[in-house]
Symmetry: C2
Subunit: 194 residues, 2 copies
DNA sequence: TAAAAATGTTAATCTATATTAACTATATTT
DNA sequence: AAATATAGTTAATATAGATTAACATTTTTA
């Protein structure tokens, strides 16, 4: 089992002892998914938090009319799950699906609690990660209220330049909260402007 | 200094020893604000996290055109701050303003880190609070994409029945991401429907 | 390599919500 | 109590973005 990417990621911010590292490794599992497979489905209980080693996922909500609304993309070195379902162990509102073949490290709810209880500096580290995810989410709400779709797209390109290359355009439209047709129009307008 | 509401709140979920309680109390400060006063202003560094004892605040972004966009209301037993600025100690994107006379307990960034380092079960507790705030924020994004303004309003009424009574209507419109005129139209439609 | 499926584009028309403006009602201050 | 500021409503018009539909391109599968 190759936990090295997770350890590298953690060691960028804090240092774990040999013993802590071994304990962490003993609690996590490695898993591969193929493109198209679901990590979590709406209605399931989200049992695991996932750290992506390679690949790409989308987290989306399927509304009553069958339309997908993407909240989040995740790539290498990101965490993904349905946080709401994971923490309450209630049925998920979101789907998490692989949009590339994806390798990841999974941690169950119980193991996560145990790891963080045993290693307080990891608990501290994760608190801070969630704090910044929350802050980013609040900023995203504001952008969706105060920017036009075109402005939001330019922001997205700038903030996630690599994701735009990796995922189909209609998913970017979904992430921006617009239709693929309107997204297409925006892109052609921008192409004319320069 | 009356820290009792904060202690009651914490004790609903975890129990602190006498010693831990005294340590916590020694680190926090009490403060009153008048209606209209700002706890944080856009561009300031957000130095404190606030636990509201009484009163009500709004957290909003003022866009280039001078329009307010409310991300969050907070009332008794809620936390408020500009989380992004608080954790990075970088200039705030948001304003936090009192919309009633407000009494609260403040914790500085440094004291917060110290309290959570000293009392691991509090760190755990706060990690979970932030996790649920994050999950709620993701759900809010989805609602803004998949529901009409009228549906979002009905959801808001149901989820925060007390807030609607306490704050001016134009702020609810701002929270919902619509103009006060359109909000007025929605309400009159709903009044006709029943 | 042909067929099928998935993805992306263009254009016409429609709709939810914004904008503007004029007005009414409610608080706050003098 | 009058004056002023703040909040809320109504209605006409304007617009960003949705919907529909037809077509073009790329990718996957047989």
């Amino acid at each position: 089992m190759n936990a090295q990417p997770l350890l590298n990621y953690i060691n960028k911010y804090i240092s774990l002892t040999e013993e802590e590292t071994l304990f962490l490794i003993s609690k996590v599992t490695f898993r591969k998914y193929l493109k198209g497979q679901y990590i979590v489905q709406q209605g399931d209980i989200c049992k695991k938090q996932c750290f992506i080693i390679s690949g790409c996922t989308k987290t989306f909500y399927m509304d009553a009319g069958g339309q997908e609304h993407i909240v989040l993309f995740a790539i290498e070195d990101w965490w993904t799950s349905d946080m709401g379902s994971f923490i309450t162990q209630a049925p998920a509102d979101f789907n998490v699906q692989c949009i590339e073949n994806t390798e990841l490290i999974q941690i169950t709810y119980e193991d996560n609690e145990e790891i963080l209880r045993e290693i307080p500096k990891l608990e501290r580290f994760f608190r801070k990660i969630v704090e910044s995810a929350y802050a980013a989410s609040q900023k995203r709400i504001i952008r969706s209220f105060s920017l036009t779709a075109k402005e939001q797209y330019l922001f997205f390109k700038e903030q996630y330049p690599t994701i735009e290359q990796r995922v189909p355009q209609y998913m970017i439209a979904s992430y921006l909260g617009i239709t693929k047709e309107f997204f297409s129009k925006i892109k052609s307008q921008l192409a004319i402007e320069e």
